[in-house]
């Protein structure tokens, strides 16, 4: 007896859709890399500038947009000034802009004084290199086309090393690139939020202290939401996640049961 793949697919859809409809939500116990990430933000002084690089594709926004939302909320709550930019991914120009704006409106933060959104700039690694020497040789204007020199940022930031923290939200190798070209080279402390797939890849860098904190996938975002005492997209998604994991665990057990049963029959 073998389960048809159509049955598996149908069950999977079911366990994902039902919890979303009924809005079940669990408490998620935070783990160490997330707590470190959280505390790193809490230890920043009011009014300090930090860089948030948005280097993910629309295709992974399921995991990373909840992180961006929670992080933005946290930064605004602590009166830290985030500078959002996107130097490494040409595929997106305005990702996250709308949701940042929405949170800012709710928390009464003003664009271009309480936060900045700079968008994409071509140049890849050479842009990173240039930012190390003169930030404004790369970014002259904000995303909506206003000159940066008219704003507060111009007085406080000259080069990338003037930022107190760099946070990369990424789905690919950009964290490694930023570690190499910004953290190692200019000494900007760094933390990262990545997709679950990439998370285990970055544990060696976490272990070595190169990364100060790490949010891994939807679970990481949900833990972060728990620490912030809010329940948004990530925690809701985690309930669907939970049931799907259980389904997969059961599938593995059934698969092995069938395998051993088949093997015994084969021997006879």
């Amino acid at each position: 007896m073998k389960i048809k793949k159509e049955v598996i697919y149908f069950l999977l859809l079911l366990v994902i859709i039902l919890p979303l409809i009924f809005g079940i939500s669990f408490k998620i116990k935070p783990t160490e890399p997330v707590i470190n990430f959280f505390q790193e933000i809490n230890s920043l002084k009011k009014g300090s500038f930090i860089v948030v690089t948005i280097s993910f594709d629309p295709s992974t926004k399921a995991e990373l947009l909840p992180m961006l939302d929670a992080l933005t909320y946290h930064l605004f709550k602590n009166d830290i000034i985030p500078v959002y930019m996107n130097p490494l991914n040409a595929n997106v120009t305005n990702l996250g802009y709308l949701s940042i704006k929405k949170i800012a409106r709710k928390m009464k933060k003003k664009e271009n004084s309480d936060y900045y959104y700079l968008g994409f700039v071509p140049g890849d690694k050479s842009a990173l290199q240039d930012m190390g020497e003169d930030f404004y040789s790369v970014y002259k204007k904000t995303f909506d086309g206003k000159d940066l020199e008219n704003f507060n940022i111009f007085k406080n930031i000259q080069k990338i090393s003037d930022f107190s923290l760099l946070i990369d939200l990424a789905d690919g190798n950009s964290t490694l690139d930023l570690l190499t070209y910004i953290n190692t080279k200019y000494g900007v402390p760094m933390a990262s939020g990545v997709t679950a797939v990439m998370a285990s890849e970055y544990y060696p860098y976490l272990n070595s202290g190169q990364l100060l904190g790490l949010l891994g996938g939807l679970r990481g975002a949900a833990e972060y939401e728990t620490l912030l005492d809010m329940s948004a997209k990530a925690r809701r998604g985690m309930s669907a996640q939970t049931f799907a994991h259980i389904l997969i665990f059961i599938l593995i057990i059934i698969g092995n049961y069938e395998y051993f049963k088949g093997k015994r029959h084969g021997n006879n």
Partner: protein
């Protein structure tokens, strides 16, 4: 947390500050590299890599079935070294395929990678003395975007029904979409990748896998080319060097 024993800390010197240690390591590697070419080595015994041995077999089977072979390049484009390594393997595959007279189809997601692949296949066919097989229109570009590229390869696989599929290079999430579907068509699948996160997926749905650094040594391995194998020897010795260095540093710190 980490302890930097930088030897050249002076930023005004000829060596950039903080990079002395890396430079020393580079010189160490360079010496090993030069030595392995200067010493008159006649023969190098190599560990068996089943993935490599399977390449010829897969091409042979594809020929028997009368179907083409499909080469899928990774997402990181040339000149990233993983892509160069993949293209080097492609050259060797092309040589074998030309001997069998089997055509190669290769979709790409980057223009430079596509051009390198064309040159490499052309050279491979020429080396095998079978230039009439060269058909540049079979090495084509689809799109830079990850998932449209993956979807397109899936539908291509259905269309051309390849007997063997090779995946060489750095892959991301699209790996399982490609390999699961490829497996369902019954093709032999051989993958080589340096993206550690994707290795479990290649294990579950490919027949053979060159994992991690095996991708970089593959091109030297296929034809047991002594010249390229010498570079592999350097890798081995440098690896032992790293282990010894860690142990010595560890002992000196704790004793």
């Amino acid at each position: 947390m980490f302890n930097n024993a930088y030897i050249f800390a002076d930023s005004n010197g000829i060596i950039k500050s903080g990079r002395g240690e890396s430079l020393l390591f580079f010189i160490f590697v360079l010496i090993l590299f030069t030595l392995s070419y200067l010493l008159k080595i006649k023969h190098l015994p190599t560990r068996k890599l089943s993935g490599i041995e399977a390449i010829e077999e897969a091409i042979g089977r594809s020929t028997e079935m009368g179907s083409p072979i499909l080469y899928v390049a990774g997402l990181k484009p040339v000149p990233a070294v993983s892509a160069i390594a993949g293209i080097n393997v492609l050259g060797k595959i092309a040589e074998v395929a030309a001997n069998y007279g089997t055509p190669i189809i290769s979709p790409h997601n980057n223009s430079i990678t596509m051009i390198s692949a064309r040159e490499e296949i052309k050279s491979g066919f020429l080396r095998a003395g079978n230039p009439e097989l060269i058909n540049s229109s079979k090495i084509f570009y689809i799109t830079d975007s990850q998932f449209p590229y993956a979807a397109s390869i899936n539908s291509l696989t259905n269309e051309v029904k390849p007997g063997a599929i090779f995946y060489m290079g750095t892959f991301y999430a699209e790996s399982l979409i490609l390999t699961e579907h490829g497996q369902s068509t019954g093709a032999i699948q051989i993958a080589g990748t340096d993206s550690v996160a994707q290795i479990p997926f290649f294990i579950t749905s490919c027949d053979y896998l060159l994992m991690g650094e095996e991708l970089f040594t593959a091109s030297a391995y296929i034809k047991k080319d002594l010249n390229s194998l010498k570079g592999v020897l350097m890798q081995d010795i440098a690896k032992i060097g790293i282990i010894l260095y860690i142990i010595i540093r560890l002992l000196s710190k704790n004793l």
